[in-house]
Subunit: 185 residues, 2 copies
DNA sequence: CCGCTATACCTCGATGCCGAGGTATCGTCT
DNA sequence: AGACGATACCTCGGCATCGAGGTATAGCGG
């Protein structure tokens, strides 16, 4: 997750750790704040994997700034992750939003549509939060106001996202067809 | 999180680990599947903390079943957790839904309303996912269709939840007033 | 020039989760 | 009788994260 977000931000432009931290805070920080005890080891792991390099700028500001650049391997890893996200990236809303935030980097309408279709399939499979001895509880059988609130909110989110997914997939399919004829004609 | 869910389910009725596992799978399993390598150590931690006890049923079915019961300390811990959730339980939707799923156990309309008000305050404070050099990006300035999708979905969720929160808080406030006059009169 | 804050980076112990593995029993199908 | 899957529980290594701590520089107010 963190890995995806770091690669995604660095794909836009090289930046140093502290700036990365600010961007990450803006993206998911209100949901789940990120400590730099998490960020810097993550950067080190990516560096050890050869996905990014640091270039030390001399006396720019304060401490020795390491400007972080993606390597070609880093770009490949990002695109691979975006093209074939793991199931948790599809099902968990926080992770899914991170995928969406950088899906534009996957510069391929068909590939983007394929990822959206995976989310679509996940949202369309029936899921129930609660059940008792008699089986799954549908909305009508739930008397607890808090639990019916969960269902209400989940359903509103689902409706909005399904509509958006259908629209966006249609647009991507259309633009893909256009591009193919444009480049081939 | 897991801790809260275990305590919450056991508050309904004692059950053994495997049954707990099924309930947990129904509650959050479609989002994030739970391995029993996570569940059983969590049960052990709760037992070590004195929040639950196991009672071994003799030759009921297969392996030695341990039926899990909340202790008075476990009930207290559950109520305390529900009454004063940490900020992450408020901000993270997955955690928040877990709080909601068991908030009914906090048998106190005023306390329940107070928790809902914390979520309300969180949702009402302005948050932006993205920003550039010129500051936070509002919806109009975002051209990336995937990022505008995030905002669209987040806003739909937020609208639905805010409406539900207002309604439910009003209902709780009303029932609280009624209860007070009923018990005092 | 001292203290304070912001910038910028790092380490380390504790914790919690995951996945892969293992054990054992019971019921059912063949 | 043997194979198999479901039930039921457990252990352990590995890893990501958190939080608390530390280091160092630059700039600003008093």
């Amino acid at each position: 997750m963190l890995k995806l977000a770091i690669l995604g931000f660095l794909r836009d432009r090289p930046m140093h750790g502290y700036e990365l931290r600010r961007h990450l805070a803006a993206l998911t920080g209100h949901i789940r704040p990120l400590s730099d005890g998490t960020l810097y080891p993550a950067i080190k792991r990516l560096e050890a994997d050869g996905l990014l390099v640091r270039e030390t700028e001399p006396g720019s500001t304060a401490a020795p700034r390491h400007t972080l650049h993606l390597t070609p391997a880093g770009v490949t890893a990002l695109l691979e992750r975006l093209r074939t996200p793991e199931q948790l990236d599809i099902s968990d809303e926080n992770r899914w939003f991170t995928v969406l935030a950088f899906l534009r980097h996957l510069d391929d309408p068909a590939g983007q549509a394929a990822v959206l279709r995976r989310r679509l399939a996940f949202l369309e499979e029936p899921a129930s939060f609660f059940y008792d001895e008699a089986g799954p509880l549908d909305a009508e059988r739930i008397t607890d106001p808090f639990r019916s609130g969960i269902l209400l909110i989940a359903r509103a989110t689902s409706r909005a996202e399904l509509a958006w997914l259908h629209d966006t997939i249609a647009a991507l399919d259309a633009s893909d067809g256009q591009d193919v004829t444009a480049t081939s004609g």
